[in-house]
Symmetry: C2
Subunit: 213 residues, 2 copies
Amino acid sequence: MTTPARSRQRGPYARSAERREAIAAAVLEIVVEKGHRGVTTAEVAERAGAREPTVLYHFPSKDHLLVAALRRSDEEQAEADDGGDSDAGLPERLRAFADSVTRRAGVLRLYAALAGEATTPGHPAQEYFAQRYAATVARHARMIERRQEAGLAPPGLDPVQVARQFLATWDGLQLQWLADPSFDLGEVLVAAFRRLTGEDRREARASLTETES
Amino acid sequence: MTTPARSRQRGPYARSAERREAIAAAVLEIVVEKGHRGVTTAEVAERAGAREPTVLYHFPSKDHLLVAALRRSDEEQAEADDGGDSDAGLPERLRAFADSVTRRAGVLRLYAALAGEATTPGHPAQEYFAQRYAATVARHARMIERRQEAGLAPPGLDPVQVARQFLATWDGLQLQWLADPSFDLGEVLVAAFRRLTGEDRREARASLTETES
DNA sequence: GTCTATAGAGTGATAGAC
DNA sequence: GTCTATCACTCTATAGAC
């Protein structure tokens, strides 16, 4: 209203929320292009149309910047999976997700690297991972409970324990796959899900019966 | 034998193999004490009784240094588990190992962080992880085969696939545990092993029989 | 509260002599 | 193989304008 936007590349006094968004977007962009090791506060500032100290005003350290990129990536991912809250075709959805992972190696690397760093007390990513683990475990646990109620999963399982195991398998398999993509990530993941939740027992029972006894 | 060691702190012209060892040991020491973020080439040099360029002569970059620490840690670990090659008390051994993990958080963090980095092509840790994954998967697969032959595990399983899943679960659970050590790592790990290998089926069968049919 | 300008401490890494 | 000397660059901190 006061002054018309000057035709500078570095927009003057962009509202803070926009700035934060622009900065986070810039970080994610660099992560995808060059990997997180290629992120420098200088380039982030450049791409966000700001100066370095401005960047560090919004995110007090480089690690905070990286966490912001992870958060932003999560949001984009969440938008992508919008509709499917049904547990119905779960194995299919798993497989689909595993496929999408293929294209986002840069983010996965960042996720893995930060997951390691984040476990040191006081690290900026600590809260992010604590929340993320807790939320994911809770979500998976609820899903397993529903499957138990539906008779798909055996009632003896501890849903939280299985949820933890499944999350762990997921993260670990991604790592292995990134290191050597010679196996079908979706397939191995779905198989692990079936075994961990005991949903392979129907088929297993037959082969078991003919094996022992 | 030839010349007695001179009583200088910075040994002059220590044989190269010794230098490498001293440097790797210094890195591991710092990792355990302060975490891998606390590793600086300067301090490594100091602890190894050498100068910085000497350190970087043997290990051309900081990442190489970190890999060296990981390798050295593996060796120490291997010595510790020397005797137990029997598959007999495997769950017990798993549990014991999971306990020992508790005391080596620094190394685990480094492992996790590097595992993420290592997936970028050309990274110094790439080879280490490729070898380690391959060796671990092969070792676990052999173990599962033996258990299949012994009638402990169902014959329908793909040993390599299960081995992958188990390794993944292991790595992932360590991460979760480091982020929030509120659960019993050994217990969850053993349970995952049982389910992934189908060795919980005997017990499961009973509960299954009374559940369905 | 939001940003710009400037500056500094510390890092990994290199060139080249011994 | 080991060292001295040096560099380029990154993250971060401070002072102050709007």
